[in-house]
Subunit: 158 residues, 2 copies
DNA sequence: TAATAGCCGAGTATTTCTGTCAAGTATTTA
DNA sequence: TAAATACTTGACAGAAATACTCGGCTATTA
């Protein structure tokens, strides 16, 4: 249950490659395709969306490719996924494009909303930078409370 | 993104009705159908699965219907959903039935695993009882750390 | 035995997903 | 300017999952 589409998955992996290679100049679709085992044609579709959203920039012509438009520390996984798959919407009632008439009398609305918020908080908090550094484990708690900080939270001091 | 199927949604709503009405005897599919606006035929399919898993029991014949097989405080939303939609598996690589060969070299595996665990913790922690009592808001933190307990955690003392 | 209510397996329409394809545009270098 | 490189765009098609429906059967009770 709750599966992510391949578009979202490939998108994140592509962004990882771009972030990784950007330091040495633009990264071509072909490179991403080879390293991440995704077809060039499919990647075109994905990267186009991300470019339109302003999250990456493209450079045409020989020597061209894609470059990060912003700092990897300011780009969240949530942002990438939302661009490719739309907002987190556990149910159609939670989708801003659909909505629901009987929200008020609904027993489960708040439950799904709460779950959705939880997921969104996770995805927005996880940055591309974390992926680069291998900090893919989000601590059990999102906030340090001073006490039980034995297992979690490497990196991202600020 | 990350939408729950209607089966899961209806399943939870049906369980709510059964829990609610169980005190006054078995609840019929027809009643659930009317109260939750889901067709009888579809509900049959859903409740059958839940019955086979032992989460509810059925009573045949006139005056029959469905009854909770266990205490509503011991039945979690996660349990209901897993029975109807299979395990939480953000990607196919996380699905126990599929798996992946290059887990070790994968940059994103841990990320999705972490997200999945997060979701599962939420769903397993939320009980049917909470739905009955209107405690559908899961606090921002799942655990009380002694300090900042101003906003969260009503009910379920043990 | 007749009415009630659940049990079960198949089947189908629809939608979403997962890509492919072909033709085009922009940029750089020789 | 011509060739080569790379991105751009929209349409489309096969596969899979979803969201149901249908028809007939079984158990229980009055
Ligand atoms: S039915 Fe729309 S919010 Fe529950
Ligand atoms: S490709 Fe399977 S775990 Fe990432």
């Amino acid at each position: 249950m709750l599966r992510l589409s391949t578009k979202g998955q490939y998108g994140v992996r592509a962004m990882y490659e771009i972030a990784r290679g950007s330091v040495a100049g633009p990264v071509t679709i072909k490179e991403i395709s080879e390293k991440q085992h995704v077809s060039v044609a499919y990647l075109e579709q994905i990267l186009n969306k991300l470019r339109r959203s302003g999250i990456i920039r493209s450079v045409k012509g020989p020597g061209g490719g894609y470059v990060l438009a912003r700092d990897p520390g300011s780009i969240s996984i949530g942002e990438i996924l939302k661009e490719l798959e739309g907002p987190v919407a556990i149910t159609s009632c939670l989708d801003p494009k659909e909505g629901c008439v009987r929200v008020d009398s609904c027993v489960t609305h708040l439950l799904w909303k709460s779950l959705g918020d939880n997921i969104e908080r996770f995805l927005d908090g996880m940055k591309l930078q974390d992926l680069l550094q291998g900090n893919q484990l989000m601590g059990l708690d999102r906030r340090d409370t001073g006490k039980n900080t034995h297992a979690a939270r490497r990196g991202r001091p600020a």
